[in-house]
């Protein structure tokens, strides 16, 4: 039961990353793939109607975490206090920049909100990347399951660590590149004209850059957390994750080289899923490693809510998921195809 809930909660986070990752990526590339005000409206139109639908997966993930792993949320969120509020403020600015930019047809106004949009998406990608690095590396959990962490200490990933060290920074770079590549692949699918051409070139370049970074990130993770790899060998889900990764790379590469945009985008999504499934499976059952002492680590079994709470959640969650899939089908069917700035705008001007 607890293992199943670990999988469900991971699933919700993975869906969030795949969905909102495209918005982070599109946002980071906003300035370089779109040069004129019209082209920039095209990028906004590609993510505009759906960003809040993507963002609520994070809310759904957070709520489910409170319900089934309350002690994990309590330890992690209090420990990451300042970093989380930075993420929140970036999410606020990102959402606002998408919504209000289109309200006034004015170059200075839109230029300002484009700036906010780009910067907040960059910071979000970096912060989420550093957060992923923190999960693999661990945090200074004490015997009571609490920690409180500075932004950085001595930049070494052992002992009394900070949010940023050489390992989490390099994970942040890797994540930023991957998400930018994901966004470029999405924009290739959704746009036409010059934006399409530039996005396609960026997608190829960034995915190519991601390959050596992936190798570096894997070696670093092995250095920082050798147990994780030994542990992963015994988990069949890790092998499944690796299979997904290899399959999706084939799809992505073939899609990119043969201009099959939908195939490339699906490959890109599945690749993110594969990476995160492998990571989540390698960590299980630990949810939060302690860099101070292994016995302080919090496993899913330590942080789970009571049995009755898990049973109740098992009843309503599948219903909620079925509904979410229905909306997903509706949205996918309604929003299929390229965006057009004459049709897919808020109609404000």
């Amino acid at each position: 039961m607890i293992a199943a809930w670990y999988a469900i909660v991971s699933f919700m986070l993975i869906v969030y990353v795949a969905l909102d990752g495209r918005n982070f990526g599109a946002g980071m590339l906003h300035w370089v793939v779109a040069r004129t005000p019209e082209e920039r409206r095209q990028v906004i139109a590609a993510i505009g109607p759906l960003w809040s639908w993507h963002e609520v997966w994070l809310v759904g993930f957070g709520g489910t975490l409170v319900a089934v792993f309350p002690r994990l949320l309590a330890s992690a969120f209090a420990g990451y206090y300042l970093a989380l509020f930075l993420i929140l403020w970036c999410l606020i600015l990102r959402g606002i920049s998408i919504e209000v930019g289109g309200h006034i047809n004015d170059r200075q106004w839109q230029g300002f909100w484009d700036f906010v949009f780009v910067v907040s998406n960059f910071l979000l990608a970096i912060l989420f990347g550093a957060a992923a690095g923190n999960l693999v590396r661990g945090v200074p959990l004490d015997a009571d399951g609490n920690f409180s962490m500075a932004f950085f200490t001595d930049f070494k990933p052992r002992g009394n660590v900070g949010l940023l060290d050489w390992y989490t920074v390099s994970m942040a770079i890797f994540t930023t590149v991957i998400l930018a590549a994901h966004g470029a692949t999405y924009l290739t699918l959704k746009t036409e004209g010059p934006v399409h051409g530039r996005s396609a070139r960026w997608a190829k370049f960034l995915w190519a850059a991601a390959v050596p970074l992936f190798v570096v990130a894997s070696i670093e993770s092995w250095q920082v957390h050798p147990d994780l790899f030994r542990h992963a060998m015994h988990n069949p889900f890790c092998c499944l994750g690796l299979l997904i990764i290899f399959g999706s790379i084939l799809g992505l590469a073939s899609g990119l080289s043969r201009q099959r945009e939908m195939l490339a985008f699906i490959g890109s999504n599945v690749l993110l899923v594969g990476l995160l499934v492998t990571g989540a499976a390698a960590l299980f059952p630990v949810t939060l490693y302690s860099t101070l002492a292994p016995e302080n680590s919090l496993t899913a079994y330590d942080v789970a809510a009571s049995h009755s709470a898990l049973v109740f959640a098992s009843i309503w969650w599948p219903v909620g998921l079925a509904l979410a899939i229905t909306y997903f089908v509706f949205i996918t069917r309604r929003y299929v195809g390229k965006v057009s700035i004459n049709r897919d705008t808020q109609g404000f001007y």
């Binding site: 319900a67 309350p70 309590a74 403020w89 309503w316």
Partner: protein
């Protein structure tokens, strides 16, 4: 260093109180306005009258701005359960997390999947799907309200739980938890209050245009729909829902009811103070003017019933700010009464055919729209201050709930950040909404001759309207 302000719980309370009060300014309008959009979209489908589509297009823009600010200011609420209230989450997460998660799965997914379609997608979707989008958004926003109120009701009047391993709470009866009578009463009361806000805003815009002689047909549509819904909702917010809510408080939180009314002495035949200033130091209500027996009747259904006074309870079980609670409650009640009177009079004048010609009334309707926001906020302050000193009434105290590892400095820093960010956000919001109202419903030209020089030919007003826009930009 033992002052009240060095207490860590107080900063987390300030931050949560500030962020949630600010956040709730936006959902209260969207929950009310959503049903106006559904109604007009439905009328447009049925009658084919473009008038209704124009109204939807106009209000969807204002709805969209509210919704966006509501979404982004709502995210911090859920996060703060972990960041600032970690001890509370450890203790009660297995229970309250259920409804927080259900809100995400059942309400937010529905709402956010369709809100983009409602605001961005009229051309892409066509009229039928556009109506469905409006309906999905309205339902989603109310379902979201329901789950939040179930969560709050558990904190006010915990039901359906049991204490399990690690001393944390688990679910004993999902049914008792989800169908908590407190939640049902509070939900009806709160949703009616949201409709009051929505209808007052719609009415105010209609009155504003009418006074300026702009967008005549649209203005009358807003006015007539607004005052009708406004009257019905204002009445329902008082009775039965508000009345039931007060009875619920009297039954389960008698000390809270005593504080809300500023009653220190218990007694039968208790009155409701129309005017009076609570004097906590002297333990009395100064200069009271009371309706004798009214409180006994309202709380227990009998003029002679005994109503408890604060003196019967130890001071450490009193809500920790009696004065704030008293004024929140009393100002809310007074405003609610004025709302009924104003809307009843507006409907009466409309029935006599004198609504649009009554300048005084239109001014009053235009200026009235901020007051439901105040009343809603004070209502929530009554509920939340009245719950103190408990975080979960009777079983878990607020002072035990905050995150032990988060320092005062961290919370003060993020509170400053929120105050500044939300201030800027508020300016931006007001600027954009003001601008949309200035533009008016799409495609209408200036109809008031007084606004234009007389020699202008009929084609010109549109040109002038666009010139004005450009000037404004």
């Amino acid at each position: 260093m033992n002052s009240y302000l060095s207490n860590p719980a107080i900063w987390s309370r300030f931050q949560f109180g500030f962020t949630i009060t600010y956040h709730y300014l936006f959902p209260q309008l969207t929950m009310g306005l959503a049903w106006f959009l559904v109604y007009w979209k439905w009328r447009a489908l049925r009658t084919g009258d473009e008038q209704y589509n124009k109204a939807v297009r106009f209000w969807a823009k204002i709805f969209g701005l509210n919704f966006a600010v509501g979404v982004v200011t709502g995210m911090p609420m859920e996060f703060q359960f972990g960041t600032n209230w970690a001890s509370f989450t450890r203790y009660a997460g297995g229970v309250i997390g259920q409804t927080l998660a259900m809100e995400g799965m059942f309400a937010f997914f529905l709402e956010s999947a369709f809100v983009g379609a409602l605001i961005w997608g009229e051309k892409r979707l066509g009229p039928r799907y556009h109506f469905l989008a409006a309906l999905g958004v309205a339902l989603g926003s109310w379902i979201s309200g329901f789950f939040i109120l179930v969560t709050n009701a558990f904190m006010q009047h915990p039901l359906g739980y049991r204490v399990e391993a690690h001393g944390a709470l688990g679910i004993a009866s999902p049914r008792d938890y989800l169908l908590n009578p407190w939640a049902l009463v509070q939900f009806s009361h709160n949703q009616m209050a949201a409709l009051v806000t929505g209808s007052f805003v719609v009415t105010a815009v209609g009155a504003f245009y009418t006074l300026r002689g702009l967008h005549r047909n649209q203005a009358q549509l807003y006015l007539r729909t607004g005052i009708l819904v406004g009257l019905v909702a204002s009445v329902l917010v008082a009775a039965p829902t508000g009345d039931q809510q007060a009875k619920m408080v009297g039954r389960h939180q008698p000390v809270t009811l005593a504080a809300m009314e500023g009653r220190f002495e218990g007694g039968s035949n208790a009155g409701v103070a129309m005017i009076g200033q609570p004097n906590v130091a002297a333990r009395r209500l100064d200069n009271p003017i009371e309706f004798p027996g009214a409180l006994s009747f309202l709380a227990y259904g009998n003029f002679g019933s005994y109503v408890h006074g604060l003196n019967e309870y130890p001071t450490n079980s009193w809500p920790d700010n009696v004065e704030l609670l008293y004024y929140s409650f009393h100002v809310m009640i007074t405003l609610g009464t004025i709302f009924i009177g104003l809307m009843a009079f507006a409907n009466f004048q409309n029935w006599r055919g004198r609504l649009v010609s009554n300048t005084w009334l239109l001014w009053a309707l235009m200026l009235a729209f901020p007051f439901p926001y105040l009343a809603n906020t004070l209502g929530w302050m009554t509920a939340e201050l009245g719950r103190q000193p408990w975080l979960i009434y009777g079983i878990f105290q607020t002072r035990d709930g905050y995150s032990k590892v988060v320092s005062n400095g961290d919370t003060i820093f993020t509170l400053i950040g929120f105050v500044f960010l939300y201030f800027v956000l508020g300016l931006l919001f007001l600027f954009l909404v003001g601008r949309e109202i200035g533009h008016g419903p799409e495609g209408e030209v200036v109809t008031d001759a007084r606004q234009l020089p007389e020699e202008i030919t009929p084609e010109l007003p549109e040109v002038i309207a666009t010139q004005r826009e450009e000037h404004f930009v």
